[in-house]
């Protein structure tokens, strides 16, 4: 059954890719959404504790025998549901929202769903790496902005190569392909620190944690729905999934957990700061995702791994929050700057209610997580409270800076866009046990922040063009890595190729041959004396051989 469902998704994806990009988009999007919905329905029929294990021998070449594994059990069922749900939401938003090349995007979303599912199912690291790679290619194809594409592919290509190298090291040292065997690497493996640290850096890059977040900041030019898809259902998620699957490798080095702690905390903080000070609404969404991924990584870093259900809920909630920003962005006629919004509450009451709902579900999940790690959970709650209250307050309550046209057009997005979010929020609320008193307290605090806006002075930073437009990370990479490499390459060409090979080696040989030719021409002047000289030389050779050799 499962195989059939996967093929259904594949079929829907291929159809979406093959039909003209903008022909009957609603129909094809609905078709894709139905396929995913059907998948969810069929999966829900088998319950929450299924035991499906399919092992298909994929590749049998010398040195490499890889099986394709499809495993659904209690440990991953929620994640599968979450992925399906996220994809469904993206597809529905795509159906009714504003997006270019909808059919193509639908296809990519479905293909990405398949590859991410294969990553979730992976029992060996070959399947895992392939799934990650395929996901990268798909996301790369779905990004329709050149600069964003560049940043994305450079970073993720490097991360993929890094992952490939790490597992090549493990494979070379006789480690099996099974992920479950990785724990034994501590016993037989070499270069443990290298493997662990390199692995961490690769997943950081993929998830776009602090210092590597530039990859995703550049995505602000994408359509909002596409952006949300990339931020929550694609590459950063694959990074985290890789981390989950290879966590046993981190234990082989003493540096891995401290490193992860530093990066995750920095990501959360940087995400929070970014979400507050950056004006661009999509960039805010990216910083919110950075905060989210930082938080998720922090749980692993502080040895309090998130359960399958918790992570799925958190992921969905975070995605929904980003979708809310998208709704506001749509309602505001695609206005990108938060500073150009304000006072939207009277026109977006329903959206505000939806926002509260989403935030309540988000906070509820975090409160539930306090059982796992209270400090992290409460830090998350406080940061989210401050950041979200600040952002929504600016948009909904703040002084209006919107131009007249935006103001005139301002209204709640269509029901087709809002309803799926509402349903998903309800679903979350259903799955997480809401602690009403605690939630009430937090929501009161949020509303206070929302109304008072204690960080309103930071609004001035929106006017600071240097801050808003600066891309310090990219500049640093460019300055420290790219430019020196280019200069070095040019220097090498000049010295090694031109000066040494061309001017020295080749010229010397050429000159030697010319020298021999000139000697030859001098000797072969055609005169009698030259001929006599040759004869004498011949006689001399014979005489010498006669005297000494003969």
């Amino acid at each position: 059954m499962l195989i059939k469902l996967l093929f259904l998704i594949l079929g829907a994806a291929l159809i979406s890719e093959l039909v003209p990009k903008n022909k009957l988009p609603v129909l094809w999007s609905l078709f894709s959404s139905t396929a995913v919905l059907y998948f969810i329905y069929r999966l829900s029929l088998i319950g929450l504790s299924p035991e499906i294990y399919i092992n298909y021998p994929w590749l049998k070449i010398p040195n490499l025998s890889v099986n394709l594994e499809i495993v659904i059990n209690a440990a991953n069922i929620y994640l599968v549901f979450a992925l399906l749900l996220l994809s469904l939401l993206v597809l529905i938003q795509n159906t009714f929202g504003r997006e270019t090349a909808k059919n193509s995007v639908n296809g990519l979303v479905l293909l990405n769903l398949l590859s991410t599912l294969m990553l979730v199912f992976a029992g060996n690291y070959m399947q895992m790496i392939v799934a990650v790679g395929v996901c990268d290619v798909l996301v790369f194809s779905s990004i329709d902005n050149v600069e964003a594409k560049k940043k994305y592919i450079y970073a993720n290509f490097l991360a993929d190569i890094g992952l490939l190298s790490i597992f090549a090291v493990i494979l070379g040292q006789g480690g099996g392909l099974e992920l479950s065997e990785l724990a034994k690497y501590a016993q037989f493996g070499h270069h443990k620190d290298f493997v662990a640290i390199f692995l961490l850096i690769c997943v950081f890059v993929k998830s776009g944690l602090f210092l590597f977040h530039g990859t995703y900041i550049g995505l602000y030019s994408l359509g909002f729905n596409r952006l949300n898809f990339v931020l929550y259902a694609a590459t950063p998620l694959t990074g985290y999934l890789v981390l989950l699957k290879t966590e046993s490798l981190l234990q082989i080095s003493h540096y891995s957990y401290p490193l992860m702690q530093i990066f995750s905390v920095a990501s959360v903080l940087w995400g929070a700061i970014g979400a507050i000070v950056i004006d661009h609404i999509k960039e805010k969404a990216v910083y919110l995702s950075l905060m989210f991924w930082g938080l998720v990584y922090a749980y692993t870093a502080f040895d309090s791994r998130l359960e399958n259900l918790d992570f799925s809920l958190l992921l969905t909630a975070s995605f929904l929050l980003s979708q809310i920003l998208m709704l506001i962005y749509t309602a505001a006629s695609n206005e990108t700057d938060v500073s150009a919004m304000g006072g939207f509450l009277k026109n977006l009451k329903f959206t505000f209610v939806l926002t509260l709902l989403v935030l309540m579900s988000y906070f509820s999940i975090l409160i539930n997580l306090s059982a796992v790690n209270a400090i992290l959970a409460w830090s998350g709650v406080i940061l989210l409270l401050i950041v979200s209250a600040h952002i929504f307050s600016q948009i909904l309550l703040g002084q209006s800076h919107a131009d007249e046209k935006v103001q005139a057009m301002l209204k709640n997005p269509s029901l087709f866009l809002c309803l799926p979010i509402a349903v998903a929020t309800v679903l979350i609320c259903y799955y997480c046990k809401i602690a009403p008193w605690m939630l009430l307290l937090i929501m009161t605090g949020w509303l206070m922040f929302f109304i008072i806006r204690p960080l309103r002075r930071l609004d001035a930073l929106y006017e600071n063009d240097n801050l808003q437009e600066a891309d310090y990370i990219s500049m640093t990479y460019d300055l420290l890595i790219v430019t020196p490499v280019k200069i070095f390459g040019r220097l090498l060409w000049l010295t090694v190729d031109f000066v040494f090979v061309e001017r020295t080696i080749i010229n010397s040989i050429q000159k030697a041959l010319n020298f021999m030719i000139s000697i030859f021409q001098h000797l072969h002047s055609g005169t009698l004396s030259a001929a006599i000289l040759f004869i004498i030389f011949g006689f001399l050779v014979v005489s010498i051989v006669w005297c000494y050799g003969g």
């Binding site: 072969h524 055609g526 001929a531 040759f534 011949g538 050779v541 051989v545 006669w546 050799g549 003969g550």
Partner: protein, 472 residues
């Protein structure tokens, strides 16, 4: 007794042909160009047939026909016949010139034939001395003033080296008491203690042969003469003499002067290596095609000399295979040259064949194939020669010489590349005349023979082995 003299019947027929030609010339010069060619043809063709028929007939101890001599004689006749057939149109309306050319060629052939079969030193010396003077005479045909000047020098050296040859033979005769090969060989094998004079005679004889073949450092005349003479003569002098002198020299060194020879091996090697380098560098320095290929020939002669220096069975097999292949390829190259004419004149400068491939692709392809073959590149025939020579050197543990021969070809290859580049990669600046169909026929035959030989070289090798068995 008289029946023995049937062994010289082929040579007698050739001689008869010469007489007929002289008679024809004496009777009437005008309109006889074709007649001279026909007489030449009908002199050589039966000679080939007769040579094959009387391939094992001897005249006591003075004349010996065997597989070895017959093989080389037939090759010489065949190439000469092909060559004169290919270029007979060159002498249209040039009756006197054509008579001189054909008659000298026929006399030369007679001399080479005598030199190859003779078992008497005086006869050999006579034949080859005459050959040398005939070379001078041939070179003078239609030569310009500058060439005539060079030919004058050449004549002096021919005289000098012929003189050395005769002195050597006289000393030998004086010491041994006979000029017969068998007597000399018997004498030398029974007397291990060689006098100074005997050694000197050997040296003088060898110097003549080395000069005649054009080995460095006695090579100075060759390129100069070739570049100055008319095309039919240049081709003849490039291809035929080495087929006469070289086998005779081998025969002498193996069957007559062998006891002397051992100390002379270093000289052969030194001269051989010198020829290789001078030939390779010389070819690079030239813009004149005749001279370029003359130096290339010097390279190959150097290879023969180096490879055959020890005069052992394996080396000789390798060398003779190489010799045959080289001659074959050179004949092909000169055949292609014969197809390259501009306003009736054969081209001789490198610049004249620029862009040949655009107008004469078939000729160019043949040229290319032959030159690449001469570099020794597989799967062409030249590789077979290189393989034979290098294998024999490795078998004899002469690794140094093997390396010299193998690497020096790179220098020569530069010169060939220059020619190929001019033909293929440069724009054409002249119009080439219509090519005689004979040229195509010869090239096709040449290519077919090359193809057959490269696909199944066993026959060639077997023939060379059989031929060598006759003298070893």
């Amino acid at each position: 007794m008289l029946v023995e003299y049937i062994a010289i019947f082929p040579e007698a027929w050739l001689f008869f042909g010469i007489i007929i030609m002289c008679a024809a010339a004496w009777v009437n010069f005008s309109g006889t160009c074709k007649t001279f060619y026909a007489i030449s043809k009908w002199s050589i063709l039966p000679t080939i047939f007769l040579t094959a028929v009387f391939y094992d007939r001897n005249i006591a101890a003075i004349w010996e026909n065997n597989d070895y001599t017959t093989f080389f004689k037939i090759i010489i006749y065949l190439f000469s016949l092909s060559w004169i057939a290919l270029l007979n149109k060159r002498f249209q309306n040039r009756e006197k010139q054509s008579f001189i050319y054909y008659v000298y060629v026929l006399i030369s052939l007679l001399c080479y034939s005598i030199g190859l079969s003779s078992r008497e030193f005086w006869l050999t010396a006579l034949a080859f001395s005459l050959c040398q003077f005939l070379n001078v005479m041939l070179a003078k045909i239609d030569a310009d003033e500058e060439s005539l000047h060079r030919i004058r020098y050449y004549r002096i050296f021919v005289l000098f080296f012929c003189f050395l040859l005769w002195i050597g033979i006289l000393i030998l005769y004086y010491q041994v008491g006979s000029s017969n090969y068998s007597d000399i060989f018997t004498f030398l094998t029974t007397n291990n203690d060689f006098s100074f004079l005997l050694k000197l005679s050997f040296v003088l004889i060898m110097l003549f042969f080395l000069f005649a073949v054009g080995v460095a450092p006695f090579h100075f005349w060759f390129a100069g003469i070739i570049s100055g003479c008319i095309f039919p003569v240049a081709g003849f002098l490039t291809i035929i003499p080495s087929l006469g002198y070289f086998p005779t020299m081998i025969n002498l060194l193996v069957n007559v002067l062998a006891p002397f020879y051992e100390w002379f091996v270093p000289v052969m090697v030194i001269f051989g290596v010198l020829s290789i380098f001078i030939g390779a560098i010389g070819a690079n320095s030239e813009e004149n095609l005749h001279r370029l290929f003359a130096y290339a020939e010097l390279y190959y002669i150097g290879v023969f000399l180096t490879a055959a220096a020890d005069m052992q069975n394996q080396s000789l097999i390798g060398t003779l295979i190489y010799l045959l292949i080289y001659v074959f390829s050179f004949f092909g190259i000169y055949t292609v040259f014969s197809g390259c004419r501009n306003k009736g004149e054969y081209v001789s400068q490198l610049k004249d064949i620029r862009g040949l491939s655009t107008q004469r692709p078939f000729l160019s392809a043949a040229f290319l194939g032959l030159m690449i073959s001469l570099i020794g590149m597989p799967p062409l025939l030249g590789f077979l020669g290189k393989l034979s020579v290098v294998n024999s050197l490795v078998a004899a543990h002469s690794y140094g010489l093997m390396a010299i021969i193998s690497f020096s070809i790179l220098i020569l290859a530069c010169a060939y590349l220059k020619v190929i580049t001019v033909i293929y990669f440069e724009p054409r600046n002249i119009n080439f005349d219509r090519v005689d169909k004979n040229v195509y026929i010869y090239i096709v035959i040449n290519i077919l023979l090359i193809a057959v030989t490269i696909l199944n070289p066993k026959y060639l090798i077997h023939d060379v082995e059989m031929m060598l068995a006759a003298i070893l």
